[in-house]
């Protein structure tokens, strides 16, 4: 039975510092042996997950940092794939990071049961570049977003994961007006000393979630409409990726692209010069490096059924291609075919890991 508690945000505290104090206490008391948490880098210019064992090292951490340079699902995979660390490690993750971890768990790349997932409410993140620019310009990223919500990444504005879908402990900030952080867990050791949540706190969170969901659904519809208009047909697709430099960074940063070496970088895609001449001769010219469309469409065929829409691909693109927009659009058309929603639950079997005799076409 899940217990609902509360961390009060005191004078001079922020929800971040208040929550951090609770996490620090869990580390100090030995209820957690380690904590993977976003940590300030370069004086707050960005935040990256850091595995902390020393409570004193938590000073610069922020569980609610509004930036996500790397999807935490990738880091949890690194942490647990070969062999999960002994002891209890808390991992602070946003819902889209949890979604990635859920997919990777099913792909045997994460051992989700071997870490303590600390899910946090996420109002959205700013791209790394924007975050750095804001800090460098002396602005507070959070207040900047409050003024200009359009600063959020498109993936965040169209996020499907407003509600934390899986956790061992929830740190909820939605609907709290900055006065408290809601903590939900079934594990008493993670709740030590916290007061019961007052009446209405969870309801307020729920109603905020519904409001945010509403906005996000509307934004998604608007984005899809743009795709309908511009990203259709061979020409639309070609235009979308026109400036691609075939660096494969989108794949590198994709949390559900988990292969050791991408198939599209393997020997299969290395050719003799004569072969490239053959193509050039048949087409009149050959784009170099080769296989741009093959890479994007092929990668899509490999992972779009497990795409969780975190938009890391877009953030990673050095030439500003909105890769995530295309992938999310296709994902939302492919996954329902298998009655699947990537990142939703560890219990839904991967679409390609199963089949039904009586389904799809041809019959």
């Amino acid at each position: 039975m899940a217990e609902e508690r509360i961390i009060k945000v005191g004078k001079g505290e922020t929800p971040s510092t208040a929550a951090l104090a609770h996490l620090e206490q869990l580390l100090t008391s030995g209820h957690l042996d380690g904590l993977m948490i976003p940590m300030s880098m370069g004086g707050g210019r960005t935040f990256m997950h850091v595995l902390v064992t020393d409570p004193d090292a938590l000073a610069d951490a922020d569980p609610f940092a509004p930036v996500m340079p790397v999807n935490g699902g990738t880091s949890v995979s690194r942490l647990t794939k070969l062999e999960a660390p002994s002891g209890r490690i808390g991992v602070v993750l946003r819902p889209c990071e949890i979604a990635a971890a859920i997919e990777l768990h099913k792909l045997l790349q994460v051992r989700l049961g071997d870490v303590v997932v600390i899910g946090v409410d996420c109002p959205g993140t700013i791209s790394v570049k924007d975050h750095i620019d804001l800090v460098d310009a002396g602005k507070d990223p959070l207040s900047a977003v409050a003024e200009e919500p359009g600063l959020l990444r498109e993936a965040c504005m169209t996020c499907d994961w407003t509600r934390v879908q899986y956790h061992d402990m929830l740190l909820g900030t939605f609907g709290s007006d900055g006065t408290h952080v809601i903590v939900v867990s079934e594990d008493e050791t993670l709740l030590g000393g916290l007061d019961k949540a007052p009446k209405g706190a969870l309801e307020a969170r729920e109603s905020t979630i519904e409001k945010i969901e509403d906005i996000r659904v509307k934004t998604t519809e608007a984005v899809e409409k743009e795709v309908d208009e511009h990203l259709q047909g061979p020409e639309g697709v070609a235009r979308h990726w026109e400036t691609c430099i075939v660096c494969h960074n989108c794949m590198e940063q994709c949390p559900v692209c988990y292969c050791n070496e991408c198939f599209f970088e393997s020997q299969t895609f290395r050719y003799e010069g004569d072969k490239m001449m053959l193509w050039a001769r048949n087409r009149g010219s050959l784009d170099m490096p080769t296989d741009k469309a093959m890479f994007h469409l092929g990668r899509m065929a490999h992972m779009v059924a497990t795409c969780i829409g975190c938009g890391m691909c877009t953030q990673a693109c050095p030439v500003g291609i909105n890769v995530g927009r295309a992938f999310k659009y296709v994902a939302s058309r492919v996954q329902p075919v298998y009655d699947y929603k990537a990142g939703r639950s560890v219990d839904d079997p991967l679409p390609q890991a199963t089949y039904l005799e009586d389904e799809l076409e041809p019959r």
Binding site: K81, C259, N260, S266, T268, N282
Partner: protein, 656 residues
């Protein structure tokens, strides 16, 4: 640069009349990897093969593309020919330019020639990337498990055991013998099973190489051809068989006497502690825990008190035994459609309407009436009996579409035996048509008609009902077109044969398949009727489809021969075209494992990488297509090979 030889066959005029061979040779020769291209009128002939072999040696060719007919015809021919002169056979590939080119495009020679050239060049791209492969050797266990102890299982067991194999004969009832043991006499020889089956049963029981697992079922089967692991569940007998002497005292004292006897198909009753019939092998008693008063209510216990061998212990002695098995023969036989069907014929409602197999028991000297034909309702001797054929068979709208095959013959036999028993009796047989296609069968039916004066009426019966102690049968004689109403004393229904109950569950444990009616599927209906699609598992008898005894025994010996041949060597040789995994590329996601229907590829929990079991892999290549990183591949069907074939088809050939 590889040195590929291309050999183009004219196939007389079959290819050459449509495909411009000279043009093919010219174009193919330009491919940088082609060291030699040559044509010949019949490449599969001895001179043709000699020509190929000569060129391999003379030019040191390291790959061959044979452009001729479908690979199903001569792939093996040319691979063997190449192997004889030292070229690894898996470096030989077929380009099909006959079935796929010259024959279906006879009216378009130019485009056909173009297609032939592209197919050959694409095959060159494939073969130049083939690797040498060597037959995989898998050690075998020299034992056979036979599932089902009817006449099929017994015959297969005896054949295998005589060949020196260790045999495990698994039977779910407490005695072997199967359906044949319940028969009265057998057509067309009128031998009684006691005369011809019992000796075989005894022989099986005493054979040093045969172990009978009676009252046992298959729990689980894993492994692969030559190396199966089977778990056999010895069901609880509540009697210590090492002490039981089969004396039958428990049967005489058991107070629960009204259980329909399976052996007698409900025509007689048995007790809760019982031996199914006197000739049972093994001759051991079991206690039926669904009916025993002691086991159900803790009352009685009389058999334990009276058993002279002190064998009864009322303890659940279920035991799971694990066996190492090289080959499996499935001989689960058949049943007839159960009695809850056929309300229109009064079955299950009118006691004197019985099924054919029930009537066998009324005819059998070993049966409840000691061979005297009596009505189940009142024990009187029936003076008139109507036999109805095709009840539930050849009836796609309501029951089974197929012919149950044995009914014509056993109905004729039953009518004849009835006449032997009741000299002044009259037998009527309603039939659609008579199928008597075995040795001596037609003569047998003629004898029934002419000598025994059995009255055959062509037509189906529409209704059977009881009226003042008689059974009224309505039907039509379709030869005279006349409506017929008979008032008889008994009706015997030749109900449709169906696959044994539980066979679907068994099939899925064995990873073999059944058809829509539950009959086990053979590898090929005409040419591999004994094999299944799973290597090392064979079919015997009526499990595959209805069979009479002689066909059953023949197939059982066939299945045994297959198993004996398979296990005649110490190692099995398998085609080496199987999956393999690049351990560096493998990321251990397990997609391959979810694909494989054979459990042949799995992520090793220690290394975190997928590994292929060479004995299990059937070489479908599904895991390779499922693997996102390209770590899994099907040998000689690599992705780059396919890509290069696609390039040839879409862009033509690479020129230098």
């Amino acid at each position: 640069m590889p040195r590929i030889g291309v050999f183009v066959c004219h196939c007389g005029l079959n290819i050459a009349a449509t495909v411009d061979i000279a043009k093919v040779i010219d174009r193919v020769s330009q491919h940088p990897a082609v060291a030699h291209a040559e044509d010949y009128i019949f490449m599969c002939s001895d001179p043709g093969q000699l020509l190929v072999q000569g060129k391999i040696q003379e030019l040191g060719l390291d790959g061959l593309v044979m452009a001729n007919c479908s690979p199903t015809l001569h792939e093996r021919t040319f691979r063997n020919a190449a192997a004889l002169v030292g070229l690894n056979p898996y470096l030989v590939e077929i380009a099909n330019i006959r079935e796929a080119v010259s024959w279906p495009h006879m009216k378009e020679p130019e485009r056909a020639t173009e297609k032939a050239i592209e197919i050959i060049l694409a095959t060159v791209e494939k073969v130049r990337q083939n690797t040498e492969l060597h037959t995989i050797k898998v050690p075998v266990t020299h034992s056979v498990m036979i599932i089902g102890g009817g006449v099929a299982g017994i015959q297969a067991a005896l054949d295998c055991a005589d060949a020196g194999l260790e045999v495990h004969l698994v039977e779910r009832t407490s005695s072997i013998g199967g359906m044949m043991a319940s028969l009265s006499e057998t057509f067309p020889t009128l031998d009684c099973p006691q005369c011809i089956l019992t000796p075989k049963m005894t022989q099986a029981g005493k054979h040093p190489n045969i172990r009978i697992h009676a009252y046992s079922e298959i729990e689980e089967v894993s492994g692969f051809v030559g190396n199966f692991q089977a778990k056999v569940r010895h069901k609880a007998t509540y009697i210590d068989w090492s002490k039981c002497t089969g004396c039958g005292v428990c049967m005489t004292v058991c107070p629960t006497k009204k259980i329909p006897s399976e052996y007698n198909h409900g025509m007689a009753n048995r007790t809760a502690a019982y031996i199914p019939f006197p000739q049972a092998v093994p001759n051991r008693a079991v206690i039926d825990d669904k009916n025993c008063l002691w086991l159900l209510k803790g009352k009685c216990g009389i058999c334990a008190k009276k058993c002279p061998a002190e064998a009864i212990h009322y303890e659940d002695n279920t035991e799971i035994e694990e066996l190492e098995i090289g080959a499996i023969i499935v001989a689960t036989g058949m049943e007839v459609l159960p009695v809850e069907h056929f309300g229109e014929y009064g079955l299950g409602k009118i006691p004197d309407v019985v099924t054919g197999i029930q009537f066998e028991r009324l005819l059998a000297p070993s049966g409840p009436t000691a061979g005297k034909v009596q009505r189940p309702s009142d024990g009187t001797e029936p003076k008139e009996i109507a036999f109805l054929q095709c009840i539930g068979s050849r009836d796609p709208a309501n029951y089974k579409p197929y012919c149950s095959k044995v009914c014509c013959m056993y109905t004729g036999k039953q009518a004849m035996l009835y006449k032997h028993a009741v000299h002044d009796g009259q037998a009527f047989v309603f039939y659609i048509d008579i199928r008597s296609d075995g040795k001596g069968y037609e003569e047998f039916i003629q004898r029934a008609m002419e000598e025994e004066k059995v009255l055959y009426i062509r037509g189906k019966v529409s209704k059977v009902f009881e009226d003042e102690g008689k059974i009224v049968v309505w039907g039509t004689d379709t030869l005279t077109g006349k409506w017929i109403e008979l008032r008889v004393d008994m009706v015997v229904l030749a109900t449709a044969a169906v696959a044994s109950s539980g066979v679907n569950e068994l099939a899925s444990k064995l990873r073999i398949t059944t058809d829509e009616h539950g009959w086990l599927k053979e590898a090929h209906l005409k040419l591999q009727p004994v094999e299944t699609l799973t290597a090392g598992i064979y079919l015997a008898g009526a499990a595959q489809f209805v069979k009479d005894i002689s066909d059953t025994v023949a197939q059982a010996s066939g299945a045994a021969a297959k198993a004996i041949a398979l296990l005649s060597k110490d190692h099995l040789e398998r085609v080496p075209i199987i999956a393999c995994v690049d351990q560096d590329l493998c990321v251990g996601c397990g997609y391959c494992e979810t694909f494989c229907a054979y459990g042949a590829i799995a992520v090793d929990p220690v290394t975190g990488k997928a590994e292929v079991n060479e004995g299990l892999c059937e070489g479908c290549g599904g895991c390779a297509a499922h693997c996102p990183s390209g770590a899994a591949t099907l040998t000689n069907y690599g992705k780059k090979q396919v890509f290069d074939m696609i390039t040839t088809f879409t862009n033509g050939q690479v020129v230098q």
